[in-house]
């Protein structure tokens, strides 16, 4: 199990890096797909198959396809020039590296995780992840769940406003 986790984790991080490094946006998108797949695998290790499959369905199957659509429609061609290291970029790079070191330092320090919730991997595998998620969504978290519908409605209105062809 632990070995699988490390393999998936490494590949996931590497492909996430690939998203940044790849010069062609299509390759970046494909790296992202790869990263999502590994995340899906990690979810399966945690006994939450439902989340894993939804991860792949939503991200790899829908969102990434839309990404690819946009990339292909706009016909974004890789420019061929690498990132120029001028002063602002260097400063930003320095800050980012510093922040990263700081954060990883934090995680190497003594971290205590809080009290475990009742939903441990064993509890999940006993009940089945779908049942539990459904119960939580329609029980304890019903208000946030319903509020998301407002969020989506707002986003749809926004898309219509931005995409509307005739402005009168």
């Amino acid at each position: 199990m632990l070995l699988t986790f490390y393999i998936l984790g490494t590949v996931s991080v590497l492909s996430a890096l690939g998203v940044l490094v790849c010069r062609s946006p299509v390759y970046s998108a494909m790296s992202l797909v790869c990263s999502f797949f590994c995340l899906g695998g990690i979810y399966i290790l945690m006994n939450v198959e439902f989340v894993a499959v939804i991860q792949i369905l939503v991200y790899a199957g829908a969102i990434l396809v839309l990404f690819l659509f946009v990339i292909m429609l706009l016909n974004i061609v890789p420019t061929g020039e690498s990132v120029r290291f001028n002063l602002p970029v260097l400063i930003a790079f320095g800050i980012a590296v510093g922040l990263f070191a700081q954060i990883s330092g934090l995680f190497l320090g003594d971290i205590q995780f809080g009290p475990k919730d009742v939903y441990t991997a064993e509890a999940i595998s006993e009940e089945g992840s779908i049942g539990l998620i459904g119960r939580l969504l329609y029980g304890e978290f019903v208000l946030p769940f319903e509020a998301i519908s407002i969020l989506l409605l707002v986003a749809v209105i926004g898309a219509v406003i931005i995409g509307k062809r005739r402005l009168n």
Binding site: I56, L57, L64, V65, M72, L73
Partner: protein, 373 residues
Amino acid sequence: MDMLDFFPSSILQAADTSWQTVTIAQRASSAFRDHDLSGTIGYLLLGLLFTAGLLTVLGLVLIYAERKLAGHFQCRLGPMRVGWHGILQSAADGLKLLLKEDIVPENADKLLHLGAPVLSLMATVLTLAILPLSPTLQVVDLNIGVIYVTAVTSLGVLAILIAGWSSNNKWSLLGAMRAGAQIISYELSATLSLLVMVLLSGSLQLSEIIQSQSDGWWIWKSHLVGVIAFVTFLISTTAELNRTPFDLPEGESELTGGFHTEYSGLRFAFFFLAEFVNMFVASALIVTLFFGGWMPFYIGGWDGFNSIMGLIPPGIWFAGKSAFFIFLLMWFRWTFPRLRIDQLMSLEWKILLPVGFINIFLAALIVLFEWHF
């Protein structure tokens, strides 16, 4: 109430035998638990071989069937030369494709161009593994089966988009865009119909969905919602397969060959194979969800008839039912004219999707008040 009581007992009677699902993966893991290493490896190999064999056989049979049917629909004979009534035609074609030169266009994105067909076939094969062909012929039985199928088939879109883009050809790109838009749109109503069946059967596991139909198939049991879901699913799955009347992505008269214009040889064969096997997957899903999977056809009260039906092994039932829907899909192809792109989109977004939403609402009501049989 009389009607409700009357229906199930008279037409749809409970099956006498309850089927126990034992998948190949379950056998492998029980062998592993018994420290039977050779058994474990054997079952795992069996799973692989089964999937690969199914893929090959389906490819050969379906391509032959399509050509033969096309011929007869058009008052021709179809392939006749290779073997008896051309029965070896697809094998010969396969051989030809294997030996053909694999041409990659000069300005194509090599890596993606080569990878796309593999991804496409991979998406298909991954679904084959969970189809319950019979109680014992199923490689794995995931408890999230239905969503898994949706998730994995949606990867096929990625493959098509990449194939179109990497070919560096206008027609390919246009075809891929059309396919992508179409599949993404129709996936919504296909998923909605799937969810209706999930609501009715109370499970996402394919084997359990079949088990829930032991007292009658959902198409009979669920009043109108099952029928509406079936029709929606049939339409949207045809669209997802890019088959006529929804075959704009590869409309020959406009786009030469759509996303696979630049493919040749084995890689073309991969796309071709994936397309045909996807057709089987779609039919198998229809059978599993609406028509009782491998359950035999029983009529309540007709004991003699039922016992004869029960003699036919479940695998044959499954194959027969799937064959019927494959035939239906092929029939569509030679019957309906192609839709225009705006008709295609308004069919989905203005008709199927609202109908699907209302339907899932009705289904929820039916399940809540236990109105189904």
